[in-house]
Amino acid sequence: MPRDLALALRSPAALAVQHRVPRAAAIALASLAIFAVLLLAAGKDPFRAYRDTLLYVFGNAYGFSELLVRMTPLLLTAVAVALPARLGLINVGGEGQLYMGAWLATAGALGCPDLPAWLLLPLMTAFGFAGGAIWALLPGLLRAAKLVNETISTLLLNYVAPLIVSFFIFGPWRSAESASYPQSPAFVEAARLPSFFGTRIHLGLIYGLACLALYGLVMSRTRWGLEMRAIGGNAEASLRLGIPVAGYVIAVMAIAGGIAGAAGMAEVSAIQGRLVAGLSPGYGFMGFLVAWLAGGSAAGILAMAFLFALFSSVGDILQITQGVPYAVVNLLMAVMLFIVLGQRRPSRSGA
């Protein structure tokens, strides 16, 4: 047994993990340090913010549970990026796909309020998946037909989806009881995803972990994963080997969009309990960064989603205690991405 263990530890994968964890921690700390300098330059107190965040998040069970709540949509939106990335596709449309999932799930919740929860929740999940899938299907089709690059089409559609949500909550779905604040009527109890332990941790976390595990399994253990990696490596050669490249592009984009849509469904059903305009503080975009920094590995996504949930809490704390807009955390995330990108040495192979 010791010999097996030693062999396992010397395997490339184990070595990679041994080196990767301290390296990722160093990069995260360096990003926080640079972000602190930028905040100091703007006359804010980053150290107080970091201390407040740590006290809030790790000081008691509720604070920690809120971290997991933040992490839940990130797991899903990150898988929505990592899956197409295996084909060499860049899905930057997670934000729009999340909004469309939330929108269609709301249609289900408002349309069939009389169904029991065991029917209504699967229906809403399916609707949420479908909403996101439709929103990613269009870029997938355009890409497969070689008409429009998926990066630019998914980015553009991000701006359309929140407008559709706004149109409905200002118009057909506007709740009568809250005339001053545009939002849909509250969902019935059967349309709310269950939450656990008296916190806001909800079934969406299970969705996220299940999706992530499934993603890891499909990639490493199935023919689909192998063929997807082949397409990502060389689409032309894969086509000649008889792999249906266009079919993969369309199906994978739709599935990825559906996963982001499920995140939107979980947010409206478990957290908001109704459709509102400011549904997501950029979960779709953060999911992109999580997937990119994780290099597509399932374990990496889990770790990075946790880290980004922590970053996002720093943003909340800054906004609440020092009046710094939440959007400033984008700076922290960008700094981290820049550090990682800047580390990759120029290589002739071009990877």
Binding site: V148, I152, L156, I164, A327, N330, F338, L341
Partner: protein, 295 residues
């Protein structure tokens, strides 16, 4: 359609098209050197915030424009360092720049939320109407860039780098240096484009006020077939779409403002589809690919 309505739409489309034109030109010059900058939206945001902040401080909108141009240039040089100096993936680096610009502009603009500045003064230089200086300079800027790209040795070298950096290198050019220069110029123009929004159009600063114009500008480069003169036409069409929507809203048209706000994005996508259909060969051949030197 009454005459004042048509006139209002026309002058308003020139006004909203201007910021788009500067941004499109900024992206175009970088892409001619082979670098896609997906962070243009971030550059515009930084320009809008920096221009507004400098104008509030100094009380002079022209200083604001200068600050915006410099800030845009600095942002693009950051992208250049990561892409040219460190060989990073262009799309990922561009998106990092997008997030960077979004965060940085929020930090810069925060103290000036709700502030009001005297924006760029309108100058009645001809019969056409009274526009600010940047509007008057937009067409000359496009012409100048066209001359620079197609009628100078520098432009020839730049296009050579965009088509095949290895061949340009073999011919005695320095691809990296030319790409840095193109990105610097592009950042300058992108920053000005953002500042036109905050200093001439809205006269306020608001988080995320560019609302995707950076991405529309990237699409316009494709529409313009990487030619500055076509970019003028594209910017006018999109300016008109935005202007029509604003004028209809101002006149109380019975269409949801949310549906009308979608028009520019959907129009962009539609145009890209038709362009993808008709021709794809206009793009610089080495666009998006990094050059790591030759053996």
């Amino acid at each position: 359609m009454s005459t004042p309505f048509a006139a209002a739409v026309l002058s308003s489309s020139v006004l909203s098209g201007t910021s788009l034109l500067y941004a499109t030109l900024g992206e175009l010059v970088g892409e001619r050197a082979g670098i896609v900058n997906l962070g243009l939206e971030g550059i515009m945001l930084i320009g809008a915030a920096a221009g507004f902040a400098a104008t509030s401080f100094a009380g002079n909108p022209y200083l604001g424009i200068a600050a915006a141009a410099l800030a845009g240039m600095a942002g693009n040089l950051l992208l250049g360092y990561v892409v040219i100096g460190r060989g990073a993936n262009q799309l990922a680096a561009g998106l990092a720049l997008l997030f960077f610009g979004f965060g940085a502009s929020t930090l810069i603009g925060r103290p000036f939320m709700g502030a009001i500045v005297t924006g760029l003064p309108r100058l009645a230089l001809s019969e056409l109407g009274a526009f600010d200086l940047l509007v008057w300079l937009a067409l000359p800027a496009a012409l100048l860039l066209w001359c620079l790209i197609f009628r100078t040795r520098w432009g020839l070298a730049l296009r050579a780098v965009g088509e095949d950096p290895a061949v340009a290198f073999a011919a005695g050019r320095r691809p990296g240096q030319l790409q840095y220069q193109a990105l610097a110029l592009g950042g300058l123009l992108g920053g000005i484009g953002g500042a036109h929004l905050s200093l001439a159009l809205a006269m306020t600063w608001d988080e995320g006020m560019t609302a995707g114009r950076g991405f529309i500008a990237i699409a316009l480069v494709i529409f313009a077939k990487w030619n500055p003169l076509w970019a003028v036409a594209g910017a006018l069409v999109f300016g008109a779409a935005e202007a029509l929507q604003l004028q209809l809203q101002a006149r109380g048209a019975d269409v949801s403002p949310f549906l009308m706000t979608m028009i520019p994005y959907l129009l962009t996508l539609t145009i890209l589809v038709f362009w993808g259909w008709s021709r794809r060969s206009a793009a610089p051949a080495a666009l998006g690919r990094n050059f790591f030197g030759v053996e």
